[in-house]
């Protein structure tokens, strides 16, 4: 009889379709164990790599990637990145702990707890894709200079190319942005990327993109004179060429450079084969933009390689910046900023651990400058600005998990107590 049942089971297993097997695999414990093991290993590798690569590069390689290669005992091994592992874990949890699991209102704890984990994973996805982060520099008010007002932030580590159209008065009309996701990734030697948009009457061919040409002191170590560039076979524009310099561990010190060629549109999807303009672009500073300018017909355009910028839905004005030094030194002990939200007149005092929150944005007191300023020098405040729609979600997810686990363990406790009572009664009855 047992043999017959076994044969039946074998038969049913053989009859399972590939889809059913895939479903079993993706909703099973085996995949969960594999993924959690990968997460453990990647967290270890990613943490250790920060010593060698720095925070941002290690984070990019291990935590934001689909795949990566890791040298384990001298052998390069292809591993899934945390992004892919997290996505698979989300799928695995959804199928295994929500869809496939036997659901019963008498045992809701685990279902709630797993929903909380899924919520946190989803929060990570939203934060990764939709967070905007940057800094805003506001100088102390000084006469007619308007640098104490701003409605733009710039990211310290991400770079973008901004293509701007100007009106006949030289005023900016619109800015098209080639973002870090379109500009980043691997730039193999000789590779080019051509950027197009139906609203732009030309295409921009970007070639020889270098992530860094500066050393840690802000000097253009990778800038080559005409002779140096010729000797190295590097393209020369306006008497200069560029070569890569090893990236700094602190990503904010990296300064990218690239060559661009502009090709006019001659049809809906056709472009001239001869470029109308070419330039060598070097990453520009946030306070005094100096873009490459050219004309296409009657229109004036500019292209700028710049730290990624965002325009905020509101503007801020610095009313007063206070700094208190350690006694006898020029080292700041405490600093804070009194700011005004220009459109509404709302006044806020921003200091350490006391950020300003408005329209989904959070403005923290980050630093001040310029470094080494003497008494009487005009100072600026640097506010770190963050917009993360999922800012509070991990906290809520943790509450959900805690509620689920509490329900589960309380139920377990009651059922244990019930069983104990029952067995005690049985023992008393038997006596």
């Amino acid at each position: 009889m047992a043999d017959t049942e076994s044969d039946i089971h074998k038969g049913s297993r053989k009859r399972k379709s590939l889809l059913a097997k895939l479903y079993d695999f993706f909703s099973g414990y085996l995949l969960a164990v594999i993924l959690l093991t990968f997460l453990l290993a990647l967290t270890y590798f990613g943490t250790m790599a920060q010593v060698e690569l720095g925070l941002y590069e290690a984070s990019e390689k291990y935590f934001e990637s689909f795949f990566l290669t890791e040298n384990i005992a001298g052998v390069p091994v292809l591993l899934p990145g945390v992004y892919l592992v997290s996505a698979l874990l989300f799928l695995n949890l959804t199928l295994g702990a929500i869809v496939r699991v036997r659901k019963s209102w008498r045992r809701p704890g685990m279902l709630i707890a797993h929903s909380g984990i899924l919520y946190i994973l989803f929060a990570g996805f939203v934060a990764f894709h939709y967070t905007k982060e940057g800094n805003m520099l506001l100088y102390e008010p000084n006469g007619s200079d308007v640098r104490h007002q701003s409605d733009e932030i710039y990211n310290l580590t991400n770079w973008s190319i901004e293509v701007t159209k100007y009106d006949s008065n030289g005023k900016r009309e619109f800015i098209h942005v080639i973002g870090p996701d379109q500009l980043g990734g691997d730039w193999e030697a000789g590779s080019t990327r051509t950027y197009v948009n139906s609203d732009i009457p030309f295409q921009i061919k970007v070639s020889g993109y270098l992530r860094n040409i500066a050393n840690g002191k802000g000097q253009l170590a990778g800038l080559l004179s005409e002779k140096g560039a010729k000797d190295k076979g590097v393209r020369i524009i306006e008497g200069y060429g560029v070569e890569a310099v090893p990236t700094n561990k602190s990503m904010e010190f990296n300064l990218p450079a690239t060559y661009i060629d502009i090709f006019s549109r001659v049809g809906t999807n056709k472009f001239d084969s001869e470029s109308i303009s070419s330039a060598l672009l070097i990453g520009s500073g946030p306070l005094s933009p100096k873009p490459f300018t050219f004309s296409d017909g009657d229109e004036k355009w500019s292209v700028d390689l710049t730290r990624q910028r965002y325009t905020l839905p509101f503007a801020i004005e610095l009313e007063n910046f206070q700094k208190e030094d350690h006694p006898g030194t020029m080292r700041a002990r405490e600093y804070s900023s009194d700011v005004i939200k220009i459109d509404t007149g709302r006044k806020v005092h921003i200091s350490m651990n006391k950020p300003m929150r408005d329209a989904g944005y959070t403005l923290y007191q980050a630093s001040w400058g310029p470094e080494g300023a003497r008494p009487g020098d005009r100072l600026y405040t640097s506010l770190a600005v963050s917009y993360n729609p999922a800012d509070q979600w991990p906290k809520y997810g943790t509450y959900v998990i805690a509620i689920g686990m509490t329900i589960h363990f309380v139920q377990k406790l009651f059922s244990y107590l019930k069983r104990s009572n029952r067995s005690r009664r049985r023992e008393e009855d038997s006596q």
Partner: protein, 218 residues
């Protein structure tokens, strides 16, 4: 088991194929993002040449964000100790030169000094003497300020009043790195960073080479 391995391999291969573009050399990308210019954003300077855009003067290769660099070497400690170490300070300064590496400087450490860990500011960092009370370090700062500002910064560390521009200019010159720096020798009560009290009988010697436009592109 075989089916599971087969399924997993299939997914991995498909994933790999999906991540590898057919033609890496030439790629076309649609520009999707846009933004309106901020009302208070700085007005861009248009029509500039590459040199002006990059902030390159005829004799500099600094970045537009920091076109000048200042160099400092400083030795500080109890007066008697510093007087005894002067010859080693001179010897160290003579060995200091531009070299390979990042930051691109080389030097020879006097045998009697201890190498301390460098910091973001201190490229070469040493201590010496009883209780390691003597210090010597070499600093490079983007920008870095004028001679008078730096001299007065040092003087304030020694509890001395500010010098006048004439006094700063009249400081003796000393061959240092790329050219002549200004040699400083002052005595006073030194108050280090974070210290609550000043220590009397201290001496500071050093060379300031302020806001140097360093050479053209290599």
């Amino acid at each position: 088991m075989f089916a599971r391995i087969y399924s997993l391999s299939l997914i991995l291969i498909l994933g790999l194929l999906g991540s590898v573009s057919c033609d890496r050399a030439e790629e076309y990308v649609e520009i999707k993002d846009s933004r309106t210019p901020g009302r208070f954003s700085p007005t861009p300077q248009l029509g500039l040449s590459f040199k002006d855009r990059a902030g390159i003067t005829s004799s500099s290769n600094s970045s537009p964000e920091s076109s000048k660099v200042s160099f400092f070497v400083k030795m500080i400690g109890p007066k008697a100790l510093i007087d005894g170490e002067k010859s080693r300070f001179d010897a160290f300064c003579k060995t200091l030169k531009v070299g390979k590496g990042n930051p691109p400087f080389e030097w020879t450490k006097p045998d009697e000094w201890n190498a301390a860990e460098g910091t973001a500011m201190r490229i070469a960092n040493f201590n010496f003497g009883p209780d390691k009370k003597g210090e010597c370090y070499f600093t490079v700062l983007p920008g870095g300020g004028q001679l008078l500002a730096n001299l007065n910064r040092w003087r304030s560390q020694m509890g001395l009043p500010d010098a006048t521009p004439e006094e700063a200019e009249s400081l003796p010159s000393r061959q240092f790195l790329f050219g002549d720096g200004k040699y400083v020798e002052i005595e006073g009560s030194f108050k280090g960073f974070g210290a609550s009290d000043a220590e009397d009988g201290y001496k500071m010697i050093g060379i300031i080479m302020p806001e140097l436009q360093i050479g053209g592109p290599k």
